[in-house]
Structure formats: structure tokens, C-alpha cells
């Protein structure tokens, strides 16, 4: 059953076609990597899937709802309820502690629950760092807080934008292991990356070039490592 489906989606900025008649679908529980060089339309696609932008043309079905024409207020609701975001730059609220950053996500979603937030931090191995401010955490730790924040509301889809782009190998592996765990639990993952190693961790890789789907690669080795 497909969770996400893009039908003939185009995003046009004046002369530039950032996305040009793209068709993709992602099944429930699937782990998909999206690859492509700079300017291939990855970010545009990410924004559209993340309910932060609307396509110029085409349909975007998320969990059966066409989100391509919804007003931004509705998009905010859907993003909050269904999507967990992980960013390349970590993006934490710099004056809130790790646990408070996780709770911010709960706050906008439903109810802040410190216990649950601490548990989520425990899952990413940072329970004892919960009271630290972002400036007191390493890059890898910050990204793990972001993963904890993304999964705290049990989203149907985790959307990660270059999640390991600024991490060393050790931390990259920790984050990928976390993704694998989430995948096992049935969470749908879409990871935008240009790191082949990160892409290889996924079940399927969609390669974008010049705003179009150039090819799709099924990872034969998935789950064997």
C-alpha cells in the first residue's frame, strides 16, 4: 500500500523546471533514498513531500490525501501529524536543552511529556545528555537529538535531508542504525542524500537528474549486512 505518490509533479520557477513531470511512489514501511547531484531537484521534492511547498502541476498523495492544492495552514497540520523531519544542519533551538528541543515537537503536536521525551533521547543514547544545551553537544549528538525529535510523535513518514552530511563515520553509522531500527518498527523513511553509502542502506534508491527521475535502483543487499 502506497503512503506517498507523486503523479506528474512539476515545479517551475520562471524558466527553470526544478521538477519536471516526476512520478514516484513510496510504500508504507519502505526505506527510500533519493540521490542526485546539486540542482537535480532533490530539495524541491523534499519541500513538496514535507508539506512546505506546493507543486506547480501534478498531484501529491500522502496517505491518500492530495496535498498539492491544500492551503498552507492545512499543510502545517499534515506536516505536524504525519511527518518527522531530520535536517542536515541539525537545527536545534539553541536556547533550549536537548530534552526541551524534543518537547517542542510534542508541544506543537499534542502535549509535552518530559518522560516520553527522555525515553526518546534514551533511544538515541543521549539520556544522560538531556539537560545539555545544543552548544554543549557534538554534531553527532545534535543530530541524534534531531532524530529523537523526529520520531517522538510517531510519524508515519520520516523525511531526512542529508542527515549524515555533517557527521563523521562513527556518528553516521549510529544515525543509520537508528534509521534501520525505525524501519524495522514499520516507519516509512525517505532519506535525501548524495552519499552512496547512505543510499545503500535503503531498500531502494531513486536517482534524480535535471528535475526528472533518471533511474531507480533496488538494493539487492538490503538487510544482509
Amino acid at each position: 500500500m502506497s503512503l506517498l505518490e507523486l503523479k506528474n509533479v512539476s515545479k517551475i520557477y520562471g524558466e527553470l523546471k526544478a521538477l519536471d513531470n516526476v512520478n514516484i511512489h513510496v510504500d508504507q514501511g519502505e526505506w527510500v533514498a533519493i540521490m542526485g547531484p546539486s540542482g537535480s531537484g532533490k530539495s524541491t521534492m523534499m519541500n513538496i513531500i514535507g508539506c512546505m511547498d506546493k507543486p506547480t502541476k501534478g498531484e501529491v498523495l500522502l496517505d491518500g490525501t492530495d496535498i498539492s492544492k491544500l492551503p498552507s495552514k492545512r499543510l502545517t497540520d499534515i506536516r505536524r501529524d504525519k511527518i518527522g523531519l531530520v535536517f542536515q544542519q541539525f537545527h536545534m533551538v539553541n536556547y533550549l536543552t536537548a530534552v526541551e528541543n524534543v518537547m517542542v515537537s510534542q508541544y506543537y503536536h499534542s502535549m509535552p511529556d518530559e518522560e516520553e521525551a527522555l525515553e526518546a533521547l534514551g533511544r538515541v543514547g543521549l539520556r544522560e545528555r538531556a539537560r545539555h544545551l545544543p552548544s554543549q553537544l557534538s554534531g553527532g549528538e545534535q543530530q541524534r537529538v534531531c532524530v529523537a525529535r523526529a520520531l517522538i510523535n510517531h510519524p508515519e513518514l520520516i523525511l531526512a535531508d542529508e542527515p549524515t552530511g555533517n557527521l563523521d563515520e562513527a556518528n553516521e553509522n549510529i544515525v543509520l542504525d537508528l534509521f534501520a531500527q525505525l524501519h524495522k518498527e514499520g516507519t516509512t523513511l525517505i532519506v535525501v542524500t548524495h552519499d552512496p553509502e547512505v543510499a545503500e542502506a535503503a531498500q531502494r534508491t531513486i536517482v534524480l537528474e535535471h528535475g526528472r527521475v533518471a533511474r531507480e535502483v533496488i538494493n539487492e543487499n538490503f538487510g544482509k549486512q
Binding site: H91, M92, V104, Y108, P112
Partner: protein
Amino acid sequence: MTKRRMFLRMITASLLRRRSRMLIALLSIGIGATILAGLVTIYVDVPRQMGAQFRSYGANMILQPTEAGALTEESLQDILSVFSPEELVGATPYRYVRLDMTSRQQSFNTAGTDFSQVVKTSPYFSVEGAYPASTREVLVGKEVAETIGVKPGSTMELTYQPSVSISNNPQDDRTPGAQLSGSAEGWSGGIVYVSAVLDDQAKIASIQIDAHSQTPEFGGRATEDEEFAAQFIGKALPLTLGQEVDALSGATVTSTAVVDALNNARKATPAALPHTLNFTVTGILTTGGKEEGFAFISLADMESLTGESKLDVAELSISANAEQLDTYVNEITEKNQGVAAKLAKRVAKSEAAVLSKLQALVFLVTAVVLLLTMICVSTTMMAVVSERRREIGLRKALGASDGSIRAEFLGEGMFLGGLGGIMGALLGFVFAQVVSVNVFGSSITFQPLLLPITVIVSMIIAAVSCLLPIKRAVAIDPALVLKGE
């Protein structure tokens, strides 16, 4: 944890952990609130302050007896009871009489007054020397002093020369210094004549009895009998035979006639004779006005000289606005028959005019300060928003609605407003105090209501100042967080 607690936690964290930026915002609100609270305090206090200032330019209400009426010290005290003690700055009674200084062949207007009140209602009086502190002391106007050539410490005599017999009050037993003469019917229709001189205390100083109409062996002895006459010395009138004085033996009728003659004399001419008292000059008065042509003595001395206790005018200094003064004038005129109250228009009117101008000025400055504070806070919050673009984008990406973003910034703004307001109310009082002490030379009392008002106004100002920055914040695109900025 409830949403509200998380909201407060985020706001306090934002304020406490981002101190430097927030301090600037807090400072701008705080300073604005300080000036606001200070000026409002002065605005409220100015009428009182100015009132006190204006009171130093003299009385603003005059009480005078009507043609048929009379004003006395007692009725004045009665009238003054309509004012509260705070309002009544002073009330000075005046009795004007022209007195002679025979040794210099001069005469000048003399006012009997209460010097303890003069100081209050005419603070601009400038005295070289001192105000009289007791009876038999005189304050002489500069012009008079030059004419008669007196200095503080000099002595002078003042004489009351009545043009008409004034006192018809038989109760009046104070006729000091008067020379009395009277007569009464004695034995078998013969008239006994008595004349006496009273001393300063209205006691008999000397007495002469003419009883030649009486039987020489009996009543006639009264003319010569020194023992009988001596009894009267040092006694005050009226007298009763058998009590203060004893009858001449064998001449009860004649003795009764002597006493009656004295009592008749007192009734007939209590103060109708020139009377002189000696005074010590305590000070020379300079006012630049007509007062320099006057001499001032105590009301008690004036009464001793004239034998009358009436007042010609009372000058009142009332601390109240023009409207209240009008109300008082009506009240006094209605309540007291025989006394007319009127305003010293010049003082009362110019006070109102200056006051309204001053208040308008303070109001204007307050408005400008408010505007500047708002611009300052708005600019700071604008900087805060652009500094936190990424955070706002992140919050929106995490699902914050526009309403949440608004609430968070408004919450921060109002928190700062409240804090700045408390700071401002306290510092503002200090500011107002300093201004008051330096400009008006008097301190002000803390208005407890000022604290909540300043806090609320500061919060409103902060909220209004945040409107534009919040509009900016809400417009931030959540997608910017994905662009790896």
C-alpha cells in the same frame, strides 16, 4: 506537563538564555516605562506642586463682611471649618485702623493681624528683623519706617483717636488706658461726680470723687477720704458695693452713688477716648507693594487700642483648583449671612492657565516618549526576529502554526513589558522624586496604583511594538531550514 507550562518554559528559556539581546529590549521598555511612570507621577502631582507654588504668590480667596454683617475672629474660625486642614494653607485676619504717632505728628494705616498666618498667606513678605512674636511689638512697612525714622529695636507710641464713640457693648469690660467720668444720684437728689483713669489692664489707676453735694459730715467725706478712694485702685469695672469696695461708714447712699457713677462712666464712654500704647519695632517690612505704607500689630493690641474685636477682611490661601474654589465661595456666601467670599481672580485664574499648559506639556512629552519606546522595542524585536529566522523556520517545520509563533513572540514581548513595567514604576518614582525635589523643591508620595498601571501600559506597549516583528516572523518560510543555510 501542560502546554501552558511548556509555553512558559520556552519563553523563560528564551529570555534567560539569550540575555544580551533581551537585556536591550528590557532596557528600552524599562527606560520607557521609567519616564512614563515618572511623567505620569509628575502629571498627577503637578497640580499639588503648582498649587503650593502659587500659594507663595499670596491669598486666593478674600472674606469680607457685608454692609450689614460683621466678621469676627470667632465667625472666621466657623467659616474656615468648611475647608479640610490640607486645603487650608493659611487664613489671615486684618483689621485696618488709622493710628497716630503724636510725637512725630504722623499718622498711618495700621493693620491688626495674626502674624503666624501672615507668614502662610503672604510668603513673599520680606522682613528685615523679625515678625512680632508678642503684644506691644510692631512690624513697620519700609515707607512708614523711613518717614518716622525707626529701626528694629526702636520704640514708638501709637494712639487711637476715635472719630466717633464706637462701642455700645455694655459687656465690654476692657477699656484700658481710658479716662472715665460719670455721675450718679446720691443722698436726697444730690449728684456725685467721679472721674478715673484706667491703666493698661483696664484697672483703675487713679480716682477723683466730687461729693460736695452730699451732707458734709456724712457723704461729703467721700471727696476727701483717701482710705475710701484707695480701695478703688487696682480694681476692674464694674464694681459692686460690699464686695470689691466697702462703703464709707455712715454714708452708704453716697458710696453707692460713687460706685454707680463709675459703672455708668464705663458704660457711657468705654473707649471713646484717645488711647495710646507703646510698641517695640521688631522688623521692617519690604514687599514692593502698598503694604510698605502700613504698620502691623497683633490683633490683641488692636483690640486694646480700639476696644473692638471686629475684622475688616480675611485673606485665605486655599490649595484647590479654580472649580473647587468657586464651589467654596458659593458655599461660604450661602452659609454665612453677613460675610461675602470672593476669589482673588488674578491668582486663581493664572494658576489654572499655567497648570493646564504645564499638564499639556507633560502629556505631549509622555506621548513622544511612548512613541520612541515603541519604535525602540519594535526595532529590537525586529532584530530578534531576523536573528531567529532559522529557529522560527524550524518551529514552523516542526508544525508550529502561525498562531503559536504569534503567541510565543507576543508572550516574550509581554513578559518583557511586564518586567520593564515593574522596573519602570520603581525607577520612575525615583525619577519623579528627583525632578520634584529639584524643580518644585518638595517630595512626592508613592502612588500604589502606579505600579499596576505602569505594568499594564508597558505590556500593551510591548505587545503593540511586537506586532510588526511578529508579522515578519509569521511570514518566514519553513522550507528555509532544509536549504542548509
